[in-house]
């Protein structure tokens, strides 16, 4: 399927395509060829696992002496596209970015009964950036029937830096209090999905098709 085919205008709840009743239970199957499952877009994703090295490095070459200067380094970035499954270990931080031409649609399955979870069965999101609280307050105003659920969402939306004292944050990071305040994202109303102007320029190896294209250009 070409990228141009991926036009998901609206999503709808799907009924299972097949249902098999057995003696002691039921199995339901969904149609994997449905457009909603096909058009998932593509993206890149970074998972920060404690103790893992920053193996993706970039260097800048100075024009004068030809010497190389260290630019940035970070942990591994992985590409994914429709049909891929991404498994994230419990408790690690991650981010993702849509680098495709179509909306990126992903379904998350949270395993709260995993071996590592010693808290209760309520899924909790701990944001490292963003401040989705305000966005959810607006939702709360628009309807009262989901009040309890919305309140829970509102409580679970804040950036964890928000609760720390700004002076301790500044000292811990060795930055100014102004920068530490930006970490808290208090006046940031963009929510937890933000637009990146001019695309996200990160160090990463090319995708297979990109590499093939580059090799064709370089060919004799």
């Amino acid at each position: 399927r070409g990228q141009s085919e991926c036009r998901v205008q609206s999503l709808s709840a799907l009924e299972p395509a097949r249902r098999i009743e057995s003696e002691a239970g039921v199995t339901e199957f969904w149609d994997e060829s449905n457009e909603q499952f096909q058009c998932a877009g593509r993206g890149i994703q970074g998972t920060m696992i404690p103790g893992c090295p920053e193996t993706f490095q970039s260097f800048q070459q100075s024009q004068e002496g030809g010497s190389t200067r260290f630019n940035d380094h970070h942990q591994k970035i992985q590409s994914y596209r429709q049909g891929d499954i991404i498994a994230l270990p419990a408790g690690v931080a991650h981010w993702c970015y849509n680098d495709g031409e179509t909306p990126l649609v992903a379904v998350s399955v949270l395993d709260t009964s995993n071996y590592a979870n010693q808290l209760d069965q309520n899924p909790r999101k701990f944001y490292l950036a963003g401040n989705p609280r305000q966005q959810q307050q607006q939702q709360q105003e628009s309807g009262s029937s989901y009040h309890h659920q919305q309140t829970q969402q509102q409580r679970s939306g804040n950036n964890i830096f928000n609760g720390f004292d700004v002076n301790i944050l500044a000292e811990a990071f060795g930055v100014s209090t102004e920068t530490a305040r930006k970490l808290q994202s208090e006046n940031d109303n963009r929510g937890n999905i933000v637009h990146v102007k001019n695309g996200l320029q990160v160090i990463r190896p090319p995708r297979l098709e990109e590499e093939e294209r580059q090799q064709e250009v370089r060919g004799n």
Binding site: M48, A93, N117, F126, G130, I160, F164, V175, T177, T179
Partner: protein
């Protein structure tokens, strides 16, 4: 052969000895951890321990525990501790003194700053191989992210993103930093 393993297994270890510290910063202090890799009997108990010593005004990097709760017992000195969950206010923000105990739930972020007399504690963690993820410092989650992600996520300049990533070269125990603001703006 199990009874032989049980009968001969080591039951005791010392985490107070400074020479056995896992992380040491002469300006900040030291951390010694004990898990089932060092003391295998702990795998039966599903527990591990951490001994921390922070010198005057030093900071332990803000971090969260990935797979364990932590029970902190203060053995000497005093320090300010903040514990933050997934909502705006800190769930704990106060001074801890010798003899006091504080529980830090799994995934909640915590930062410790020693007072004028320093701060010493022992923490019991409810996993025999407890892991934590620092938010600042050389092993931090912020350092593991691309600069460009920080620039866009926090709406900061490239220079600020670089400061966030690289200003703290220490691992998890930070010495007091009097001139941090001047350095950041330089």
């Amino acid at each position: 052969g199990l009874e032989e393993t049980i009968c001969t297994t080591r039951l005791r270890d010392n985490i107070a000895d400074p020479s056995r510290a896992d992380m040491y910063n002469p300006k900040g202090g030291r951390i010694t951890s004990l898990n089932s890799q060092k003391l295998p009997i702990l795998s039966y108990l599903q527990l591990s321990a951490e001994r921390g010593v922070l010198y005057r005004n030093a900071i332990m990097a803000p971090h969260w525990n990935l797979n364990a709760h932590s029970v902190i017992y203060v053995t000497r000195g005093n320090g300010r501790i903040q514990v933050v969950g997934n909502y705006k206010q800190a769930v704990f923000d106060g001074e801890l003194h010798q003899g006091q105990l504080l529980i830090v739930p799994q995934n909640f972020a915590v930062v410790k700053q020693a007072g004028n007399d320093g701060f010493e504690w022992v923490a019991f963690k409810t996993n025999d191989n407890a892991m934590s993820s620092p938010l600042a410092g050389r092993f931090s989650v912020i350092r593991g992210m691309p600069e460009e992600v920080l620039v866009n996520a926090y709406r900061i300049s490239r220079a600020d993103a670089r400061n966030l990533k690289y200003n703290r070269e220490e691992m998890v125990v930070f010495g007091p930093q009097s001139g941090s603001q001047e350095r950041a703006s330089a």
